[in-house]
């Protein structure tokens, strides 16, 4: 006897009560079905089906009353089974199957290694919401502010063959290494010599691409290192139009930074660097978004194919109460509403534009299968973050404390891993907690951010949903609508999912 797979996702289409989209959580299938087929599947669910995002599909038909529903044709039933929507497995059998699939796909993802260097925890800005602010303002952390030495960089690079062998990459593999720069502020003018040395060391070992997360206040000191053959992508934060940005993104002496950053954005675009601007929003500054959009259009940054803006919600922290923060879904909706009355808001990306673009690619037949995420980010597979002391971390929100490092670089370039902590980070997948492994969206979401889960619930191995179900269904529905209407879309470029 077949039942509806527990991992069937129903995507209602706005103003369309006769058809629905289906997405299968682990087969990766996307389908359009008639109302009759959708009703049949809902009736054959083992538990209450999810309430659709739009329309009047909820509460009908009654659970388990498949005899009251006209079944689809044998041809359609066969297609539903082949594509994953009907299964002979029991609920618990299917959950076990899902867990095995997650683990297998996760092991595949471990074959990719990404490196991030933090040349220093020092930064020339004093943003109030910075999670590292204590490192620059509290004397007991001042020992962290030194810059990495050439000797330490030599040792770090010497660890790469060992690290890569663990991930199944043979020595001399020849694949381009993806190397990021983070901090603190990695691109301080005083760091230029060591950054230049770092790029050279990486290239001596083989092909490499470089990117950086930078406040962009001293990027002008890096001409010659910036460009498609050097640091080819930079993520820069702007926190509103000039007057508002200058209240938040301030130097240690309290002065603002917008104009300096703007000049450096111009410089980067001239040099062919891909610039991604990140804007952090809470309820206090979302109203300023249209003025920032106007500023971007005035400076003609949006005309460059190398320029992109994305947004992220500020999460509650010691300086920002939850009362003033958005969830990601709320931020998506806030930007949608602003776009209705401010045309220039088209230049400011919603957090979920990437998800919508991915679905659109499949509808346009530009890709066959969706991304299947077995974790929220690289902290749980192959990301290695090296700080100036040779300590190795898995997550860039958890650095600067040797008690949480997953390893360290030894003299001579050997690497010593803290096996327990390394496993702790690398094993977090949707299979590693009972809520996520039952979730229809597990392979689309990846389980959410570990740091935010721990902050919200005090547990690492737990879910952090952030409204994902609504966000996913809305993104797929809008992508399909745009596909049918032939609306042009632009694929966003971003460095980080946080």
């Amino acid at each position: 006897m077949l039942r509806t797979s527990s991992y069937t996702i129903y995507v209602a289409l706005p103003e369309n009560s006769e058809q629905m989209l289906l997405v299968h959580g682990y087969s990766g299938a996307y389908d359009k079905v008639s109302r009759g087929v959708a009703e049949y599947l809902m009736a054959a669910e083992a538990g209450p089906p999810p309430v659709p995002l739009y329309g009047e599909w909820q509460s009908e038909p009654a659970l388990g009353r498949t005899e009251a529903i006209l079944p689809p044709s044998d041809r359609t039933l066969d297609a539903l089974a082949k594509r994953g929507y009907l299964t002979a497995m029991t609920v618990s059998e299917e959950e076990g199957h899902m867990a095995r699939l997650i683990k297998k796909r996760h092991m595949r993802s471990m074959e990719q290694v990404n490196y991030i260097f933090m040349p220093s925890y020092q930064c020339n800005l004093r943003c109030a919401y910075c999670f590292q602010d204590h490192m620059r303002t509290k004397p007991e952390f001042s020992h962290l502010l030194r810059t990495v030495s050439r000797e330490m960089l030599d040792r770090i690079f010497a660890t790469f063959p060992t690290i890569e062998a663990k991930h199944g990459l043979p020595e001399g593999h020849g694949e381009a290494r993806n190397i990021g720069l983070f901090g603190g502020e990695p691109l301080l003018a005083r760091n230029r010599p060591i950054v230049e040395y770092l790029l050279k060391k990486a290239r001596d070992m083989g092909p490499a691409t470089f990117w950086a997360v930078s406040n962009a206040t001293e990027l002008h000191a890096f001409v010659g290192l910036l460009g498609p053959d050097g640091i080819g992508q930079v993520q820069i934060t702007l926190d509103g139009p000039p007057d508002e940005h200058d209240k938040r993104r301030i130097r240690a002496d309290g002065t603002g930074t917008f104009e300096q950053i703007a000049q450096n954005i111009d410089l980067c675009l001239e040099l062919g660097v891909r610039v991604t601007v990140r804007i952090n929003f809470d309820t206090g500054n979302i109203g300023d978004a249209p003025r920032l959009a106007d500023e971007i259009v005035k400076r003609e940054w949006d005309k460059s194919p190398n320029f992109w803006v994305y947004t992220a919600p500020i999460v509650p922290n010691e300086n920002t109460s939850y009362k003033h923060t958005f969830g990601t879904w709320q931020l998506d909706q806030a930007i949608d509403e602003l776009r209705l009355i401010h045309p220039n808001m088209r230049v400011i990306g919603r957090p979920d534009d990437g998800m919508q673009a991915m679905a659109r690619k499949m509808f346009d037949r530009k890709r066959t299968m969706p991304n299947m995420k077995t974790s929220f980010c690289g902290a749980h597979n192959g990301m290695y973050i090296f700080d100036a002391f040779g300590d190795i971390y898995a997550c860039w929100e958890r650095t600067g404390d040797e008690r949480v490092r997953i390893g360290r670089v030894l003299d001579g370039g050997d690497v010593e891993m803290n096996v327990g902590l390394e496993k702790h980070w690398r094993s977090r997948t949707p299979a590693s907690n009972p809520t996520c492994r039952k979730c229809r969206y597990a392979f689309q979401c990846g389980g959410g951010c570990a740091v935010l889960a721990e902050g919200q619930k005090g547990k690492f191995f737990t879910n952090y949903c952030d409204g994902f179900a609504d966000r996913f269904r809305h993104s797929v529905a809008m992508a399909y609508q745009d596909h049918v209407n032939g609306t042009e879309t632009v694929e966003p470029v971003r460095v980080c999912d946080l």
Partner: protein, 58 residues
């Protein structure tokens, strides 16, 4: 399953991606994949399930 008596057009399914997708074949191929040189994969393929034994489902 009984034969359908739905009139034509009442039950429709149109694949929007991967027209030849067969979930059974896809899953079997993935689960049978060898670990290769990936040390993390070899460990996870052990009978205990690897890293997250306390949360493992057999």
């Amino acid at each position: 399953m009984s034969d359908s008596t739905n009139p034509p057009g009442k039950d429709e399914i149109e694949a929007l991606n991967a027209d030849d997708l067969n979930v059974q074949e896809l899953d079997d191929a993935l689960l049978e994949e060898a670990a290769g040189g990936n040390e993390y994969a070899r460990e996870a393929n052990m009978a205990c399930g690897g890293f997250s034994c306390t949360n493992h489902i057999c």
